[in-house]
């Protein structure tokens, strides 16, 4: 193991101990991409809910993998394959530690959140859901936590129920309570909304499901970079997230599944690595997590994911959250000062996404005029069309934060919005 450059690069000193408050300038120095001009203006990157940038530690871990330790994993007896396998399996242990799962066998690597949810739908869903069984989602969900269930509705005849949101973008829990009934088999909701920034009371939502014996899945795509997640404390059955939204590479993500549930789940894709033995008469499937990882995975992505989790850990997720909450409060304050701007989503607890509309100005024009000033935001429905349409809108402009954003950048956003109003109205 000591021979592995990729492993050396990413020792995690975090977890234990108290970290100092975030020094944002030091953090920014770790992200080379932030230091550039876009359309002759300093880049202000506020599209982090779509994807975050990568610190040097992640870039170096991926590159160290290819420079020294790369090979296919698991079956090779030669040294490079053993090193690559060690890096890959070390990533699984890092994820386990980060989510506080009991065992590494509960950590399945996927391409991302989308694939993780599709895995649950196709494997767990196909054997556990029958015609008339009900799945509860929420009005806030990303399309990736809607469409896989609609596909099951077509093939299995399941029924989808939707927890509505109120005018602030908070889930209406009394309605959720009414939706839970003996036919409910699964509750699948996001931890944090990517469109409105709502932080859902996920522990309570899961508890209410558990009390009825209902299986639970949490879409944690927007949570892992911003909040501590402890799957044992939550008692989630499944928890999904994507590497690229937590400062790691794209093309790798995670499905946590509780061991007892994974044991009984059939594979969903067939191929190499997911079997113990193959004969034309009989094939024996491998144990979890390997049963669910057919084919050559994203090996360098695993090295990058380890580095990303360590980056978060070393700075302390609570410190990160504290800094981001300061930025968020400042952003809400600055945006509220702007006449003709309406915030969309004013939930009790919010995380790093702020959606808004400007009177009489289409979101796409706002997005373009902000881009002309170097400010990167996202416009549209953010792959959460039902949530946006709930507010009678087709599109919003969304600014979303990460740990490397600064108070000055928020001020730049506010100034750029005022400029957009000036130009466009």
């Amino acid at each position: 193991m000591a021979e592995s450059a990729s492993l050396d690069a990413v020792t995690c000193k975090g977890c234990a101990g108290e970290q100092p408050p975030i020094d944002v300038e030091a953090i920014r120095a770790d992200f080379p991409v932030l230091h550039q001009d876009v359309r002759d203006k300093p880049l202000v990157y506020l599209d982090n809910a779509a994807s975050t940038h990568k610190p040097l530690a992640v870039i170096d871990a991926v590159s160290a993998m290819y420079l020294r330790d790369y090979s296919n994993i698991h079956r090779g007896v030669h040294t490079l394959s053993q090193r690559a396998t060690a890096v890959y399996e070390n990533a699984r242990e890092r994820v386990r530690c980060h989510l506080n799962a009991r065992e590494t066998s509960e950590i399945i690597f996927t391409r991302g959140t989308t694939e993780a949810i599709n895995l649950v739908a196709n494997s767990w869903g196909r054997v556990n859901l029958r015609e008339g069984d009900e799945v509860i989602l929420s009005e806030l969900e990303h399309h990736s936590n809607i469409v896989p269930w609609q596909m099951l509705r077509e093939s299995q005849g399941i029924v989808l129920r939707v927890i509505p949101i109120d005018d602030d973008g908070d889930l209406i829990l009394e309605e959720y309570e009414k939706l839970l009934n003996p036919r409910t088999k699964l509750v699948s909701v996001s931890h944090i909304s990517n469109a409105l920034g709502t932080v859902n009371p996920i522990a309570q939502i899961l508890r209410m499901a558990r009390e009825q014996g209902v299986t639970t899945l949490v879409d944690g795509a927007q949570a892992v970079a911003h909040k501590p997640v402890d799957v044992q404390e939550l008692q989630a059955d499944f928890y999904a997230f994507s590497g690229h939204k937590i400062y790691g590479p794209s093309g790798i993500g995670v499905l946590y599944g509780r061991k007892e549930i994974l044991q009984d789940m059939p594979p969903w894709q067939g191929g190499g690595d997911m079997i113990l033995s193959v004969g034309f008469e009989k094939t024996i499937y491998n144990e979890p997590p390997f049963r669910f990882e057919a084919g050559t995975p994203n090996i360098s992505g695993a090295a990058g994911l380890t580095a990303a989790l360590c980056y978060i850990c070393n700075h302390g997720i609570r410190r990160i959250d504290e800094w981001e909450q300061r930025l968020l409060a400042h952003a809400q304050h600055r945006l509220r000062e702007i006449p003709g701007l309406r915030l969309v989503g004013t939930a009790k607890e919010q995380s790093c996404a702020i959606s808004f509309v400007l009177d009489g100005i289409h979101a796409h024009d706002v997005g373009t005029v902000l881009d002309m000033q170097g400010v990167a935001v996202r416009t549209g429905h953010h792959c959460a069309q039902p949530a946006i349409e709930r507010f009678g809108l087709a599109a919003t402009t969304r600014a979303s934060l990460a740990v490397y954003n600064t108070i000055e950048e928020i001020d730049a956003l506010a100034a750029a919005i005022r400029k957009a109003q000036e130009v466009l109205s």
Binding site: I361, H364, T368, V369, M372, T379, A394
Partner: protein, 148 residues
């Protein structure tokens, strides 16, 4: 970069005060355009006479400044022209809007050359061209245009 390079005064003016806005009663041709990416909707109604000349046309719908101004300026540009010219106009407009044709070399576009500015914003090209695709499907008789 100059904020005005795309949002020039004439575009903003057509966005604020769209020309030929609304729907014609008893149109000879009509079509609906939709940009699924941003939810923009556009409905075009036309009266094309027996000689094949576009006598009148109107548009209505919901969209960004670029798509509204483009539709408004298009209606002014094609009114009184033969419907058979639409294909060549769409082609040239598309070439200019995607930066493939220097606006100086465009033969048919007149003021519409101004949309050369969207070439720098590839995601916005569809906003400018939606009305043209819709017009083409209207004169081709009928179906729904999408920019996808």
């Amino acid at each position: 970069m100059d904020l005005k390079s795309l949002y020039q005064e004439i575009i903003l003016d057509h966005n604020r005060h769209p020309r030929n806005y609304g729907a014609l009663e008893g149109p000879s041709h009509e079509a609906h355009g939709h940009n699924p990416l941003c939810g923009d909707q556009l409905h075009l109604t036309l009266v094309v006479d027996d000689e094949g000349v576009i006598q009148d046309l109107r548009f209505e719908g919901k969209g960004c400044a670029i798509s509204t101004a483009s539709a408004s300026m298009m209606t002014e540009h094609v009114k009184g022209r033969p419907a058979k010219d639409v294909e060549a106009l769409l082609h040239e407009f598309h070439e200019v809007a995607t930066g493939k044709l220097d606006p100086e070399e465009a033969q048919l576009l007149g003021k519409l050359k101004i949309f050369a500015g969207v070439a720098e914003f590839p995601t916005r090209v569809k906003c400018a061209t939606l009305c043209w695709h819709t017009l083409k499907s209207a004169v081709d008789k009928g179906a729904t245009a999408t920019t996808e």
